[in-house]
Symmetry: C2
Subunit: 468 residues, 2 copies
Amino acid sequence: MEVKYNKIAPKDIDYLKTIVDEGDILVGKEISEDFGKDELGTVKGNPDVMLYVKSTEEVAKIMKYANEHHFPVVVRGSGTGLVGACVPLFGGIIINTSKMNHILELDESNLTLTVEPGVLLMEIYDYVEQKGYFYAPDPGEKSATIGGNISTNAGGMRAVKYGVTRDWVRAIEVVLPNGDVEWFGRKVVKDSTGYALKHLIIGSEGTLGIITKAILKLEPKPVESISLLVPFASEQAGLDAVPEIIKAKVAPTAIEFFERNTILFAEEFLGKKFPDTKSNSYILLTFEGKNKDELKFNYQIAADICLNKLGATDVFIVDTDERKEAVWKARGAFLEAIKASTTMMDECDVVVPRSEIANYIKFTYDLAKKYEIRIPSFGHAGDGNLHIYICKDDYDLATFNEKLHQIFDEMYKKAKEVGGLVSGEHGIGYAKKTYMKELLGDSQIKLMQGIKEVFDPNHILNPGKVID
Amino acid sequence: MEVKYNKIAPKDIDYLKTIVDEGDILVGKEISEDFGKDELGTVKGNPDVMLYVKSTEEVAKIMKYANEHHFPVVVRGSGTGLVGACVPLFGGIIINTSKMNHILELDESNLTLTVEPGVLLMEIYDYVEQKGYFYAPDPGEKSATIGGNISTNAGGMRAVKYGVTRDWVRAIEVVLPNGDVEWFGRKVVKDSTGYALKHLIIGSEGTLGIITKAILKLEPKPVESISLLVPFASEQAGLDAVPEIIKAKVAPTAIEFFERNTILFAEEFLGKKFPDTKSNSYILLTFEGKNKDELKFNYQIAADICLNKLGATDVFIVDTDERKEAVWKARGAFLEAIKASTTMMDECDVVVPRSEIANYIKFTYDLAKKYEIRIPSFGHAGDGNLHIYICKDDYDLATFNEKLHQIFDEMYKKAKEVGGLVSGEHGIGYAKKTYMKELLGDSQIKLMQGIKEVFDPNHILNPGKVID
């Protein structure tokens, strides 16, 4: 979509200054380069002005003005995205929500937590755990904002049992591109009241409206948790075990798969030993429940199947604090460890049916051989969401980019073939637009573009993203 | 929206006959009056032609033709709706999905069940339970089709713990108004791939597209279940207990509230005795879990709180087959029993925050006094979704309708005040359109109308419903 935007002039800055507090507006070169990109790093933009907002009213005023004057607007939380979704491609205004960071209400009768969008995920965990509650979504990046999590429909490790961010959002307050403020959803458990506008905003990556409050669902805290670390002699054996564990009906909270090399990188990165590195692949199974008996019942069945049916070489029960720390620290460091192992990398976040996991990973091994490039991966095997890293290592940039392009093409084509999707949890943003178009086809893209047009006829909100 | 539709001519019938099998098309007077209405009964239409479809291709051909010729089309499953959503207000075509009633695949590696839209809810339960699985949504009407359930985002009794139909749909195949066939969602656990078109179709009551296949999520079957029947001396005491039980963090699967009178109606209707009718109100708490210890742990805490803190007069453990049968048969018969107790009634399906349940029910008692009319209710107290029946009894129709109108106005206004919504699980259809508009406001209705326009620019699909 070709849209002409107006350039922000000094008089516009003067007006914007009247909206936010002194010191909460930065103009031109005052804005650090960091705000022109996200964690992907390769997609960049030059914002003209950045405003730290503190209230819904401020956001509404900015949007009304931007809409009337055709200025592009991008919303930004912590900037931890991996697909360039919060990059101001067309310059214009950044609305920075990081100062809208208050937890507004814990409602124990309705089991909800009302927050502002700039609250960090780790702050939510800390708060609700202290009060005896549980917010289940568990994306890897704990310093992301909840606004960002909702905007990408972030997933995480507990999705097998507890679902994703979408499933834990009761309601959102949204500022529409024209400045209207609306609540989508309510503090209610059921809703059959018209089209699901709440669900449309969730995962729309800041292209349809700006989330200014969220009412999250809580549950009573699970009392007990235990993990099994299960080594396998080969990658294939580990991967083949995943659908069998699902079939065994023991309902693990998470099933994570990783290769030996990834653990070695993590050991080096952390300077800490992992409990076991003798085997070629590992599955980490986590169980959560109200009491130890329930857990024991489930994990014993799982352990028995792994050892006696699936060819695991051992089963380590991760129950001591020391072992828990070693395993989860390593698991948490995988991304950073792989990053540190190479000069540059790009990432694929496909999601496939769980039954296809083993084949898909094997397919990436074949790609690594074919293109003579390193492609480490780890991921949420239990939910079919893989994180696959294509590492530049010693290649020059042009060669790397060429290989990357070809590999991505093959990967997303394969994802389509096996009934998967482009993104399990990182979103589309700017970087994955062409792959989504290819996978979903024209008819669905046109519907999405039509919806964009309904919410944002002037295309001022996060232009150039998702389907724009 | 004023739209002109074309009248179906004999040549159109000739063409439609080529699409479906012989005997699967009924024209004009051949169509029973029953297909002109749903369970609400008061909203009626006159279809010109009804086609029993057996495949996606047939649906696609019909839609393409109807779209080109501007014929209105309504989809119908079992016709068990309560808001007139499947009534052919403008005549035209009924697509009847009741012969698309095959269970297509149980996928044990991905824990999914693929079904055609005409499969009945009770058939799904039977099938998955035999195989050791569990499909959680539990709407009262078991002879509804799954297509209808998805179209209204049906809820049911287990929503507190397991969510609603939306939460159990992995993917849907949809025929768009122009005849395009698209899959929204996949057999995957996570999805951050563009706007949530799947969620937009769910709950859209057949106005945006026609569901021709659904991939449902399954879970391993909960092993054990137990209920507590808890009598209270007054309605107020029973209602006040609900938020306290939620706060106690014992995670019941369901919390149902009912009044003594409703039980007496059910006893009369069924000709069977309920375990206890001495108290003015009852709460029925259900617990489900993997083993008896977990259940016992939770229900003992709940029983203790009810008896010692909340003033329950007793706690009956519903654990014998005989008692289970008596309680659940009665619970299942409440709607029919109230229906049988009066000459005519209409229903309100509001959903409010759980903390507001007690006040809201009390408010309906006040309305009953004010308008001198009987307003029995029962409902999913645990999830804030109430079913409230305004009974005509001996009033003449004009008086009843006047009272009904005023009472509905007050009820939905109150729902708005306390942060509730018009429909928890029955939908908007035709009957609740004005109340939704009033509650959500112009801005949201315009967004919904814009979305309708994107999917169905000719307004041929289920015209006059939801926001049309």
